[in-house]
């Protein structure tokens, strides 16, 4: 019964989405408030039904009902409860249901908290949301129904892919989807504005918090996925330029650009057409990411599905939404009035530069990801575009961008003073030069690139700090006064400083990890000692442990620093009996921001075991940076909310609306 109810709830949600996608549009066309208000109630009801459907699927997984195909294929009665729940989205059908549930959640949020939106805009936004939702409900119901039953229910399930039985994966996909799908809101707003043929600064003020929220989740989701790959795949690598990773990086780059261009639009009423285009592109890239991962055109740990009908269906969704929205854009964009003159050297100019570099970087990632697919379709040649391509194209575009980051907030709107900004950044520049000199001396020559990159990172961080010092008047004024000014500083200014500093922090981590990472690989027998980066690691012994649904071989290492024991590390290798697969569970020892990393290889005939031991200096900064960025975004969001609650132009608009 549970499976049938879930299926039925999903069909009802589709029905509601179809109503929501048409009736409010007609209402907006006829200016009928009653019809427009249908959007609100259907969006909330749709959320309730799809939420129920998702909850029922979770119930099926938790109760191990193997009469349902989806549960049978991805679950096992011995699997720990947490992985029974996360297993719901560890497979194609369940993850699509999660996708569409999050879409409904965002639609519901707009319906519930969009009270201050002009009625016609809200109706159109929710209608566009419903188009997307209806397409994905159809996709799930026709090609990937998670509630299908098996005629002869088996006693035991096939278990979830062991690589996916991990806490990182409990959090990574929902985060990523909150980001991907969150951009659907800015997309719907853009389409609604195009249909309406009107767009103003108030529009940007409504869109910005949604974009920011999606961006925060996407940032955290990508960082989480990267950390998961780092400790779970056992290679110690944190970014592989794998197409699936690129699929999440592209919306992030476009979304970051959107965040900045919406700022220009909100404050200065400029870059309107560009912001609309970016909103469309960002969500299109999110859809493309879903297509790449879900259609099976790529093969990697993430690609669960290899059913062509699904691929064609998603491709169709992709064509209709991207093609349709771009056609609408082409037809309507010229009607949007451009406004807000500014000189090239100005805050707007800096943000345009930011957009230029971010979108170009996004385009290179796009080419590197899709070129092999296109070539294979056209000529049949199989090629692989790997890390060297991206390092060659992406890095040179990011260097000037990062060098420009500290200048942006220092420039005034409309017409900036580059020389003045440079003077105020003098301290940051000196700090960067000092950092280069110190790192150079410490590394005793070696690659010149690493100290320069560290210098750049220090410049970005110090630049963010000096902006803050400049605004609060720290060092120029008495401390109490500076503190008062710091409190009075808008939260968004704090947010900018944190987010920009996070970029620099992440760069330091990336450079240190790739340049000064040391590794030791050998076959070790009990009592053998490995020496890595000043640490002594002694293998104490190997033991066999039985886990809930796997057997585990655990190696115990005693870690000594300067002859003193500091920790015991226990890397292991798990063999999952159901699937006959083994996974490597790396052991991590965190020392400050650096980590010791041990992953086990195979046992040898002589009773030894291969161990890969890495020392990764400052590696945690790679993920601490994005966390700082997300925190900055959160600060900025808390600032926006206050203003979004009562945007002044909105009140006037609403007044107009009521008069209509």
């Amino acid at each position: 019964m549970i499976a049938e109810s879930g299926h039925y709830a999903l069909v009802l949600a589709l029905g509601l989405a179809l109503i929501q996608s048409t009736v409010p549009l007609l209402g907006a066309y006829w200016r009928d408030p009653a019809l427009m208000n249908v959007a609100r109630s259907t969006a909330l009801a749709q959320l309730a039904f799809v939420g129920a459907s998702f909850a029922l699927l979770v119930t099926l997984h938790v109760t191990s009902d193997f009469s349902v195909v989806n549960v049978f294929e991805n679950s096992h009665s011995l699997k720990p409860l947490i992985y029974k729940i996360t297993g719901v989205w560890g497979n194609h059908e369940g993850s699509m249901l999660l996708w569409v549930s999050i879409l409904a959640l965002f639609g519901g949020l707009v319906a519930a908290f969009g009270g201050n939106l002009p009625l016609s805009l809200r109706a159109r936004v929710l209608a566009v949301q419903a188009w997307i939702a209806a397409a994905f409900y159809l996709f799930i119901l026709t090609t990937s129904n998670p509630f299908l039953r098996i005629a002869n229910p088996p006693v035991e399930g096939r278990d979830l892919n062991p690589v996916l039985q991990d806490i990182g994966l409990a959090v990574h996909p929902p985060m990523l989807y909150l980001g991907y799908v969150g951009f659907s809101i800015s997309f719907s707003f853009a389409i609604a504005a195009l249909i309406e043929g009107r767009i103003d600064a108030a529009w940007a003020r409504w869109v910005r918090p949604w974009t920011l929220m999606a961006w925060i989740f996407l940032t955290l989701g990508i960082a989480m996925g990267s950390y998961w790959a780092y400790y779970e795949l056992g290679w110690g690598g944190w970014w592989f330029w794998d197409p699936v990773e690129n699929a999440s990086l592209m919306p992030w780059l476009a979304g970051t650009a959107l965040l900045h261009s919406a700022l220009v639009m909100e404050k200065r009423d400029a870059l309107k057409v560009w912001t609309i285009l970016l909103s469309i592109l960002t969500f299109s890239l999110s859809l493309l990411g879903t297509f790449l991962v879900r259609s099976g055109v790529l093969t990697s740990v993430h690609a669960f599905a290899t059913d062509p009908t699904r691929g064609v269906f998603i491709l169709l969704i992709l064509c209709v939404f991207i093609g349709g929205s771009l056609a609408l854009f082409a037809g309507r964009a010229s009607a949007l009035k451009q406004g807000g003159l500014f000189a090239p050297i100005s805050r707007e100019g800096a943000l345009v530069l930011n957009n230029l570099f971010l979108t170009t970087a996004c385009a290179t990632v796009f080419i590197g990801t899709l070129y092999p697919l296109a070539l294979e379709v056209l000529t049949g040649d199989k090629i692989s575009v790997g890390a060297p391509f991206f390092n060659l194209t992406f890095a040179p575009l990011f260097v000037p961008l990062m060098a420009a980051v500290p200048f942006g907030p220092m420039l005034a709107w409309k017409r900036g003073d580059l020389l003045g900004a440079a003077q105020r950044l003098l301290a940051a520049g000196v700090a960067a030069l000092l950092a280069i000199a110190i790192v150079w001396a410490w590394a005793r020559g070696g690659s010149a690139l690493a100290p320069l990159a560290i210098g750049l990172a220090v410049f970005v961080i110090a630049g963010a700090l000096s902006d803050f010092v400049e605004r609060t008047g720290l060092f120029r004024m008495p401390l109490s006064k500076a503190a008062r000014r710091a409190r009075g500083l808008p939260r968004s200014a704090w947010g900018t400083a944190f987010a920009h500093a996070g970029l620099g922090v992440a760069l330091i981590g990336i450079v240190c990890e790739t340049t000064w990472n040391s590794e030791y690989i050998a076959t070790m027998k009990p009592d053998d000692v490995a020496r890595v980066a000043g640490y002594e690691l002694q293998l104490q012994g190997l033991t066999q442990v039985q886990g809930p649904n796997y057997r585990e071989q655990v190696a115990t290492f005693m870690v000594k620093l300067d002859g003193r024991q500091i920790a015991v590390m226990t890397p292991s290798k798990r063999t999952f009996t159901t699937r006959g697969m083994s996974t490597t569970e790396a052991a991590l020892l965190t020392r400050g921001a650096s980590q010791l990393y041990i992953s086990l290889g195979d046992t040898t005939d002589g009773g030894g075991i291969t161990a890969r031991i890495y020392h990764k200096p400052l590696v945690l900064l790679i993920w601490f940076g994005p966390v700082l960025m997300a925190f900055g975004g959160l600060l900025s969001l808390s600032d926006r909310r206050l203003r979004v609650g009562a945007p002044k132009p909105a009140k006037e608009l609403r007044g107009l609306q009521a008069a209509e």
């Binding site: 990697s300 970087a361 070129y371 060297p388 083994s582 290889g601």
Partner: protein, 164 residues
């Protein structure tokens, strides 16, 4: 500055960045792209020593030899075999008789010197490129895609992994 001048500056700047990016992409595409090949394709095409490519096929059963620092094995596609030497640690899923993708170049003696052996298989344990190539050459057997539970017992030998 007039509107026209401003626009020209913006367009000029954008074109400069786009040009830079296009140059970088073209350069990178020429220098860092590798083609995929199976042993028989490699034999037909007479790939020159030193040219990097990806070799895909099945690990010939019984061919795996574990030296002190390097591992050697043979990759077969049903029609031809190619000896491979690799000085690194083999991925978890590496097994004799199963699909493998290795990246590297031929040396003068005709041995494929791999610097990477790919670990990223999908859950059917068969790299997509290998499956496609085998299907094309008519050497595909349906059970290749099945769960290799029975094969997972014997672990491959250990080795050293070298960073790229």
């Amino acid at each position: 500055m007039t509107r026209k001048q401003r626009r020209l500056t913006m367009i000029g700047g954008s074109l400069a960045v786009l040009g830079l990016a296009a140059g970088l992409v073209l350069y990178a595409l020429r220098s860092s792209i590798v083609f995929f090949s199976t042993p028989s394709m490699a034999a037909e095409q007479h790939i020159a020593p030193g040219k990097r490519f990806r070799l895909g096929g099945l690990v010939q059963p019984g061919s795996l030899k574990c030296g002190d620092k390097t591992v050697t094995f043979e990759v077969a596609d049903g029609a031809a075999t190619l000896p491979v030497s690799f000085s690194g640690s083999l991925p978890d899923l590496f097994r004799e008789g199963q699909g493998v993708v290795a990246e590297g170049a031929l040396d003068s003696s005709g041995t494929f010197r791999a610097d990477t052996v790919l670990a990223k298989h999908d859950e059917t344990y068969m790299p997509k490129d290998v499956a496609d190539a085998l299907k094309k050459q008519g050497h595909w057997k349906d059970d290749y895609g099945k769960q290799p539970a029975m094969m997972a017992a014997g672990a491959p030998c250990e080795g050293r992994r070298v960073r790229q």
